[in-house]
Amino acid sequence: MGFYRTVTWPWPLSGDEQEAVYLSLRVAARAVGFGLPLAMIVALLLARGRFPGRFLLNALVHLPLMLPPVVTGWLLLLVFGVEGPVGAWLAARFGVHLAFTESGAALACGVMIFPLMVRAIRLSVEAVDPRLEQAARTLGAHWVDRFLTITLPLAGPGVLAAVVMGYTASLGEFGAVITFAANIPGQTQTLPLAIFSALETQGGEAVAGRLALVSVFLAVGGLVLAEFLSPRRLK
């Protein structure tokens, strides 16, 4: 019962708590920002393309959804860590370190939310009548033109859903982040990690409760924003 007395309205947040919130928002924004263009390309390929290896691409994209997140994090560590093939190359060539950095947290989130974004976009692309694109093609429209003026606007709700789902899932991502990026306050300690650490600390329930409330606000905020920006409202 003592717990309920310790939870208070989460403002003002302490400096460390604010840091965790801003860090989570930055990480989620980067995960969605860098993941979205790639997710659109992959979704288009899967929805419209007929090519060898399509099944393989589909399976690869869905892998993070099916694997335990800690395995995804570990695989990322094996590939992008200092000893991993890609990680060693990035470090030697560009001096870029991904493991245990904020960029690494964003990468881990991006990989985890990628299948969610691809699925959302793919479904709405598949719902676009291909005859509209064919008509545009007979009228001589370049494929970039067709994509920007027909497919993308019609698939808009799916893209929006992808952004919202990716953003909220990013804010909640735990296993892959703690495995690949560790739990360093101010660098890789996102909201769920900060809540986890607070729960491990004796007397940390109050902090955990406040941060949990903040997570709820951020998630609901994302949904409200999505509703506000939805195509129906824009008309």
């Binding site: 920002g33 000893e83 306050p185 101010g186 491990e200 004796q202 920006l229």
Partner: protein, 251 residues
């Protein structure tokens, strides 16, 4: 519209730069409260900021081995420190033993039955007919390994091993007792200190298990003057007083 909002957000991203002299300390979870108090003392003296990552020592050692940017590592046992030493990750001269800890039997404060540890121990009687003894998993949790050593030394292992409730970490074992799922458990003295509803029913004599020591070292890859100063500070009297306050012993 969505995209304009979105790209505006992307442009606003500051790329997390940190002050160069911030000290990142990876420390065993059992040190959480004491280390936080010491960092407060340290920073009050105008010294660089300290950030902590508290996990089980094994997790932290693995992260460091994979290149995590820690300046200082404090382990709950020598084994993981040895592991990093073998990988040449430590600044060898900086390694030292920071504090020690005791191994105790914990019970709820209410109705606490003292446990005699030694010849003719009543440890099993305290568990009742079907209660279990909460411990860290003796397969890999350091606190559980010490518990097994102590029970073996006292000749109780044969009987007690069938009555254990092995937990994932020493804190999880503590929680089993706190929630009343187990009538007693074997944990560190410091764990009991931070849990008001629990009390110490008996302390294992130090000669029943390996010494419980917490080694500290600066990591070679992130060896800064501030990190070395902080490790030196951990050995000063004010810092050691904080450790004593939280129930740690001299190494």
């Amino acid at each position: 519209m969505i995209f304009r909002v979105f790209f505006a957000c992307l442009l606003l991203l500051p790329f997390g730069a940190r002050a160069a002299d911030t000290i990142t300390v990876f420390a065993a979870a059992s040190l959480t409260n004491a280390m936080q108090d010491i960092a407060t003392l340290w920073m009050a003296g105008g010294h660089p900021k300290v950030v902590f990552s508290f996990e089980s020592s094994g997790t932290l050692a693995q992260q460091i081995a994979h290149g995590a940017p820690a300046n200082v590592f404090v382990s709950a046992d020598e084994k993981w420190m040895d592991d990093l030493a073998k990988r040449h990750a430590l600044l060898a001269a900086s390694r030292s033993d920071l504090v020690g800890n005791s191994l105790v039997v914990v019970e709820p404060k209410q109705g606490l039955k003292p446990v005699k540890l030694g010849a003719g121990s009543n440890l099993l009687a305290v568990l009742g007919p079907d209660g279990r003894l909460a411990v860290g998993d003796p397969a890999h949790v350091p606190a559980g390994i010490y518990a097994r050593q102590a029970l073996q030394k006292m000749g109780l292992w044969e009987v007690a091993s069938a009555r254990l409730a092995p937990a994932d970490s020493v804190r999880a074992a503590l929680r089993l007792v706190e929630l009343g799922e187990a009538p007693a458990g074997i944990v560190y003295g410091t764990d009991v200190k931070v849990t008001p509803s629990l009390g110490i029913a008996g302390i294992f004599p130090p000669d029943t298990h390996d010494p419980i020591r917490y080694p500290v070292a600066v990591l070679k890859a992130h060896n800064t003057a501030a990190a070395r100063d902080f490790v030196a500070f951990l050995h000063t009297q004010p810092a050691q007083d904080v450790f004593l306050h939280w129930g740690f012993t001299a190494p």
